[in-house]
């Protein structure tokens, strides 16, 4: 029997029972639709996390003091004081793969403007920090190297702090606020950045020269972090290696000693978060995949009933010349047509529901080609796999008994 005739026979058989064929497809439609939609939502959230992190500067490198043993007592990294001006000098002198460098210290406290006050954090950094963190000014000017040298009492202010200290909408530029009993003149306003991926308000901040914070507020010579920018994203790893070696030399660590600092890149963070949302995608896909299998079992069930119900038809077909192989192929083709048609409708449903999610909930979604192709292949395989057993049963019927079947 030719392939064209085979498709013709299977199509006609399905046409005789349109509603049943559609109901059988429903499992596949829902299965494929949900695979497409789930993967699209998972991919979308992964992409949006990646975008947010890129916004923070993908070639940014941070150095933190690490926990270490000090006379047998383990000390938490944050309270361990290892990063000093000497490290900055060494890094600036030796590391070629970084373009910008900024030490960072921070102090929590109340910012006060007349009768209003607001608890916030003051970061003490160098002017390069704005570039490294991809921060920009909405208004005013940034402080300079000269301000760093003179420990000038100037600061940049974030939008959240403005909202709380200047609720009337007055221009904060040039105003004096107090932080830790020290009066600071506001010289610039940071462009709002909103919340980051961890739910932190990135606008609830004051930024001042690090020397000012170190000398006038903290009275400390240590840095809590060092921020650096690699020349580009590709040279990040090289920069990390160089920085690690430089800091080990600067800290006079012997070869058997562990690092007393950690060097992190955004890549690690991106990878971590991506793998989290990647795991979510896998879970959603598995759930959707299960529904696809259930759809397949639905096909098997209906094909099985169909074989029993159409025993007489099978007997007739055999008596007029259909071979076992022809009957097998007919039922297999019916199952595959059901599953593939269901797959096509399912892909469309997936697209539509993805669009609905994006439009109504505002979630970012990305329909990946691979999920469409994969669902399609799975559909065809499901049809063949679950259609084979009933089809084989049909093909092995004895024409004499099948003809007499009532």
């Amino acid at each position: 029997m030719s392939f064209v005739n085979l498709i013709r026979i299977a199509l006609k058989a399905l046409q005789r029972n349109k509603l049943r064929a559609f109901l059988t497809m429903l499992g596949i439609i829902i299965g494929v639709g949900s695979v497409i939609a789930m993967v699209a939502i998972g991919q979308g959230s992964k992409q949006s996390i990646h975008d947010q992190l890129s916004n923070m500067g993908t070639n940014m490198i941070t150095v933190q003091p690490a926990s270490n043993l000090n006379g047998g007592v383990r000390i938490a990294g944050a309270s361990f004081q290892t990063l000093t001006a000497k490290d900055i000098t060494a890094l600036k002198a030796t590391v070629k793969n970084i373009s910008e460098l900024s030490p960072s210290v921070s102090s929590k406290g109340q910012a006060i403007n007349g009768a209003l006050n607001w608890p916030t954090t003051m970061s003490g950094v160098s002017p390069e920090y704005l570039d490294i963190r991809k921060l920009s000014l909405r208004d005013g000017i940034a402080f300079t190297e000269n301000d760093v040298r003179t420990s000038a009492k100037v600061c940049l202010i974030g939008q959240t702090v403005i909202d709380n200290l200047f609720p009337g909408g007055e221009n904060p530029i040039g105003k004096i606020i107090r932080f830790g009993h020290i009066p600071f003149q506001i010289i610039g306003v940071l462009a709002p950045k909103g919340f980051n991926a961890f739910g932190q308000d990135q606008d609830d901040i004051l930024i001042a020269p690090y020397t000012t914070v170190q000398k006038r507020i903290l009275a400390s010579i240590y840095y809590s972090n060092i921020y650096a920018s690699a020349i580009d994203e590709q040279s990040t790893d090289a920069a990390v290696a160089e920085m690690t070696q430089t800091l080990r030399d600067s800290h006079r660590l012997r070869s058997f000693e562990d690092n007393d600092f950690t060097v992190r890149t955004q890549q690690e963070l991106i990878a971590t978060l991506s793998s989290t949302s990647g795991l979510l995608t896998v879970l959603l896909t598995v759930v959707a995949g299960i529904s696809l299998v259930i759809g397949g079992i639905g096909i098997m069930n209906i094909m099985y009933v169909s074989v029993t119900e159409r025993t007489k038809e099978i007997g007739l077909r055999m008596s007029i010349g259909a071979r076992g192989k022809d009957i097998l192929m007919q039922f297999l083709m019916e199952a595959v047509l059901i599953s593939i048609t269901g797959g096509v409708i399912g892909v469309l449903l997936g697209f539509v529901s993805t669009q609905i999610v994006t439009l109504t909930l505002g979630w970012p979604t990305i329909v990946s080609e691979s999920s469409v192709v994969l669902s399609f292949v799975v559909c065809a395989v499901t049809g063949i796999f679950f259609g084979y057993y009933p089809a084989q049963k049909a093909s092995r019927l004895d024409p004499i008994e099948a003809l007499r079947y009532e």
């Binding site: 029997m1 046409q15 007739l316 007029i320 010349g321 259909a322 022809d326 003809l403």
Partner: protein, 249 residues
Amino acid sequence: MSKKILEIKALKREFIMGSETVHALRGINFEVDAGEFVTIMGSSGSGKTTLLNILGCLDKPTIGNYFLDGVDIKSLSRDELAQLRNHKIGFVFQAYNLLPRTTALENVELPLLYNKEISAAERRERAIHALEAVKLADRHDHTPNQLSGGQQQRVAIARALVNEPVMILADEATGNLDSRTSYEIMALMQELNSKQGKTIVFVTHEPDIASFSSRTIQLRDGIIQKDSRNENIRSAKEVLENLPVTDDY
């Protein structure tokens, strides 16, 4: 001497039922020539159905030989038998066995779908011719539930004719029909036999039906009891004309 279509030699068919062996056919010999109209008669249990299955190449003899159009079916595989049925036999069943929700034309085309040498255009043309031969040219698009019993059986006969078989094998083809319609079907069969020279083997248990054929084979307990030429063939067409006109419908 005309060509032999069927040749049956010392044919036996036994079934094993548990520990018992049932002898359905106990040694049968007969031949059918091209253009004959043979009825096979017998009461139930006479081996009629078993013989029919073997004649239709749906079953094989246990012992003995069956040549259909010169081919010994004993050596053929399941698939080869299917192909033989497709090319050489036209079945007409008691229950018509048309595909539901399928037009008359598509039902008639069905056997040709399993013959890959025939193109779609030729298939259609031959199906239309076959429907014309059974006088249903105007019912192409009717599905079985839109046709009367007699019309359905005529579609089934068209389906049996469409592959141009060497033999039409009818199994109680008039069993589900009233006598008037039965005579119509028999008239059609006689016409196909006489005008187109079709060989017809008609299995029935009604002596009335047998009287329209040229030869009757009587089966009893698995052997041929009587094999006689019918000297006085009735014409179904005349019987039909002489039937009183009923108006009780």
